[in-house]
Amino acid sequence: MNPFTELDGLVAPLDRANVDTDAIIPKQFLKSIKRSGFGPNAFDEWRYLDVGQPGQDNRQRPLNPDFVLNQARYQGAQILLTRDNFGCGSSREHAPWALEDYGFRVLIGPSFADIFFNNSFKNGLLPIKLDAAEVDELFRQCEASEGYRLKVDLAAQTITRPDGQSIAFDIDPFRKECLLNGWDDIGLTLRHADKIHAFEDRRRAEHPYYYS
C-alpha cells in the first residue's frame, strides 16, 4: 500500500447523502478480476449519459454536463467532500479502488458506512469524519471559490483551509500508523502467528465441532 502523509489538493463537492457503492462503481464493472483500472468508471451512471459497459473506450462516451465532477473547475480534484453515510451498501472494495484510481486520496464527510470506511484505509485512501457543521462550511467555501484547495496533514491530524483556519480530526492510532508507513496489514498480523496458532489449538480442543 502507498503511504499517506500529507496532501495539498484540489477539492470537489458531492452534495448528496447516502451515496452507495453501487453508484460509486456499478456492478457491470465488478466482473473484472483485476484491482486497477476502475477510475474511468467511477460514478459511471451519473457521469456519462450512456450506459457503461466493461471494455469500452470511456473517452469516447458522452459526459453528463450536470454531474458535478464533470465541471472544468473540479478536474484533477484529490479531495472529495461528501455527505452523510457515504459508501453505504455493498462491501465491494472496487469502490475505494475506483475513487483512488480516479485520483482521490482524501474523503471528508460527516459519516461513512462501516465497511467502506474500513476498505478505504486498506487502499491508501483517507476518509475523515468531521462535524456536520464543519463539513457544511467546507461545502460552502468550496462551491464559492474556484480552485479551492485544502491541506491535509495526517501526522498532525489537521486540515488547513485557505483562510488559514485549521481543523483537527480524529483517527485510530493503529490505522494512522499503518497509513503513514504504508504497512501491509497481513505482514503485521503474521508477526502474531504464534498467538494465532495457540488460539487455534485451544479452540480446536474446546470446540472440536468447528473443525470437523
Binding site: 451512471e45 465497511i115 496489514d185
Partner: protein, 469 residues
C-alpha cells in the same frame, strides 16, 4: 459474572491479540467465498507467496454472475465466465471444505447455502466478501461482510483486524398481523432508524415477535441489518435454531452434536445485559411495507402515499426525496396502491428460501399474472431450495400463474447476469436494495415481501396482500 450481551460473548471468545488502541485480532471460523470479491485476494496471496491458513474454513460457491436459465448453454457473457472460471481455478489450487460450483446440485446464493448446509453454526465468526453476510447472524454467530483486502487477510492469517462495535438492541414484542412478514418487520425497522441508524453497532434483534420467527424469517431480518448500517445482525440461539441445524450436512453429529448444542444454548444476551442503545417496536403496529425511493429507508406502508418533498424542511433530506421521486418517476402524494409494476422479482439472499417461496405461492395459487406485467421471475436461493419447492409443487403454482421458474443465483437482485430491468421499468422486488440502477441501469425498484411481490404480480400494481383472501 456480569450480564453480557450476545455480541460481547462472541467477541471475547475470538480475540487473539489486542493493540493498545483497542484494535483487536479476531479469529475467523468460517470463510465464505464467491466469485466477485475473491479473485484479487487469491491473486494477492499468490503474489506474496502466501498459503491459506486453514483450508477447512473455506466454503465457496459461484452465484452473482451465473445465469438462471439455459444452464445447458453455460455462461454466455465472456467476462462473467472468466470470473467464475477464475474461482474454479483458485479453489482447485488452494482447496476448501466445500465448493458448490456453477451447476452443482447444491450451488446457490452464498448466504443461502451456508446455513442450509450447516456450514454456518452458532458461536462462529463468519465472514464473506459480501455485505449481506450479516444474514448468518440469525444463528447466533458473529457474521459480517468484508472487503477484498480483508478476504486476502483472512485467507492468509485466519484473522481480521477489528475494533469492538457498540451494541444496539432492536426489540420487537407482540404478534405480527396476518400477511405481515419478517421482511415487513425489517423494512419498518429501517424506516424508523434510517440507513445509518445502525452504523458502528452490532445490531441484535430480540423480543417475542423475533423469537416467534422461523430461521428463514430471522435470516431475512439479519440480512438487512446492513441496510440499516450495521455490519452484523444477531439473534440469540434458541430451540428453533438448534432444531434447524440438526442433521445438516456440516452440522456436528453424535456426541459432538450434544456438546455443541449445550454450548450454543448459552449464546444469547443475558437477562439484564446492557446495550448501548435500545429501539423498540410493537409488532401489532407493523403493516406490509413498500419502498418508494432509492434508499431502503424511503419506505412506507401499503396504505400510505408517496411523500411530498414540499412538506420537508431539512434541505438535504428534501433534495434527497426530490431526486428519488424524479428517478423513480413518481409524483408526490400518489397512493402506493396506484403504482403499477412492469416486472416482479422473487428471489435474493433476503427472500429466496423455501418459506419465502411458500408465501409467494400461497398468493399466486389460483391466480394469474396481470396482463400488464411483463415478467415475473421466481429465482430460488439454491439448488436445494429449488428441489424442495418442486417436491412441494410450488413450481407448478408459479408456472400456472404465468411466472417464470428459474435456476438459483443472485439474478436480478443486482443484475450482473442477464436478468435485469430496462431503463424506466418498475419492479416489485423481494431483494434488499433499491439503489439507482441496482436492478439494471435506469431500473426502478420497490422493495417488498414475497407475498406482497406476488400480490403485485397478479394485480399489476401494489396491493395490500391482506385484501386478497
Amino acid at each position: 459474572m456480569q450480564a453480557q450481551t450476545l455480541y460481547e460473548k462472541l467477541w471475547s471468545s475470538h480475540v487473539v491479540h489486542q493493540e493498545a488502541d483497542g484494535t483487536a485480532l479476531i479469529y475467523i471460523d468460517r470463510h465464505l467465498v464467491h466469485e466477485v470479491t475473491s479473485p484479487q485476494a487469491f491473486e494477492g496471496l499468490k503474489l506474496a507467496g502466501r498459503k491459506p491458513w486453514r483450508i477447512g474454513s473455506i466454503v465457496a460457491t459461484a452465484d452473482h454472475n451465473t445465469p438462471t436459465d439455459h444452464w445447458d448453454l453455460g455462461i454466455q457473457d465472456p467476462v462473467s465466465r472468466q470470473q467464475v472460471e477464475t474461482l474454479d481455478a483458485n479453489i482447485r489450487e488452494v482447496g476448501s471444505l466445500a465448493y458448490f460450483p456453477f451447476k452443482d446440485a447444491r450451488q446457490g446464493i452464498v448466504h443461502v447455502i451456508g446455513p442450509e448446509n450447516g456450514a454456518t453454526l452458532p458461536g462462529m465468526t463468519v465472514v464473506c466478501g459480501d455485505s449481506h453476510t450479516s444474514t448468518h447472524g440469525a444463528f447466533g454467530c458473529l457474521a459480517h461482510g468484508i472487503g477484498t483486502s480483508e478476504v486476502e487477510h483472512v485467507l492468509a492469517t485466519q484473522c481480521l483486524l477489528q475494533k469492538k462495535s457498540k451494541t444496539l438492541l432492536i426489540k420487537v414484542d407482540g404478534q405480527l398481523g396476518r400477511g405481515v412478514t419478517a421482511k415487513d418487520v425489517v423494512l419498518a425497522i429501517i424506516g424508523k432508524i434510517g440507513t445509518a441508524g445502525g452504523t458502528g453497532y452490532a445490531m441484535e434483534f430480540g423480543g417475542s415477535a423475533i423469537r416467534a420467527l422461523s430461521m428463514e424469517g430471522r435470516m431475512t431480518i439479519c440480512n438487512m441489518a446492513i441496510e440499516a448500517g450495521a455490519r452484523a445482525g444477531l439473534v440469540g440461539v434458541d430451540e428453533t435454531t438448534i432444531e434447524y441445524l440438526k442433521d445438516r450436512p456440516f452440522s456436528p453429529r453424535g456426541e459432538q452434536w450434544e456438546q455443541a448444542a449445550d454450548y450454543w444454548r448459552s449464546l444469547h444476551s443475558d437477562e439484564g445485559a446492557e446495550f448501548d442503545k435500545v429501539v423498540e417496536l410493537r409488532a401489532e403496529d407493523i403493516l406490509p411495507q413498500v419502498t418508494w425511493g432509492t434508499s431502503p429507508e424511503m419506505v412506507t406502508t401499503v396504505d400510505g402515499r408517496v411523500p411530498d418533498p414540499a412538506a420537508v424542511t431539512d434541505p438535504v433530506r428534501r433534495e434527497g426525496i426530490e431526486r428519488a421521486l424524479k428517478y423513480m418517476g413518481l409524483a408526490a402524494n400518489t397512493p402506493i396502491t396506484d403504482i403499477p409494476v412492469d416486472q416482479v422479482f422473487i428471489g435474493s439472499c433476503t427472500n429466496s428460501r423455501i418459506e419465502d417461496l411458500r408465501e409467494a405461492a400461497a398468493v399466486a395459487k389460483g391466480r394469474t399474472k396481470a396482463a400488464s406485467v411483463k415478467r415475473v421471475l421466481v429465482v430460488p436461493g439454491s439448488g436445494l431450495v429449488k428441489r424442495q419447492a418442486e417436491a412441494e409443487g410450488l413450481h407448478e403454482v408459479f408456472l400456472a400463474a404465468g411466472f417464470e421458474w428459474r435456476e438459483p443465483g443472485c439474478s436480478m437482485c443486482l443484475a450482473m447476469n442477464a436478468d435485469r430491468l430496462e431503463p424506466g421499468e418498475r419492479c416489485a422486488s423481494t431483494s434488499n436494495r433499491n439503489f439507482e440502477g441496482r436492478q439494471g441501469a435506469g431500473g426502478r425498484t420497490h422493495l417488498v415481501s414475497p407475498a406482497m411481490a406476488a400480490a403485485a404480480a397478479v394485480t399489476g400494481h401494489f396491493t395490500d396482500v391482506r385484501t386478497l383472501a
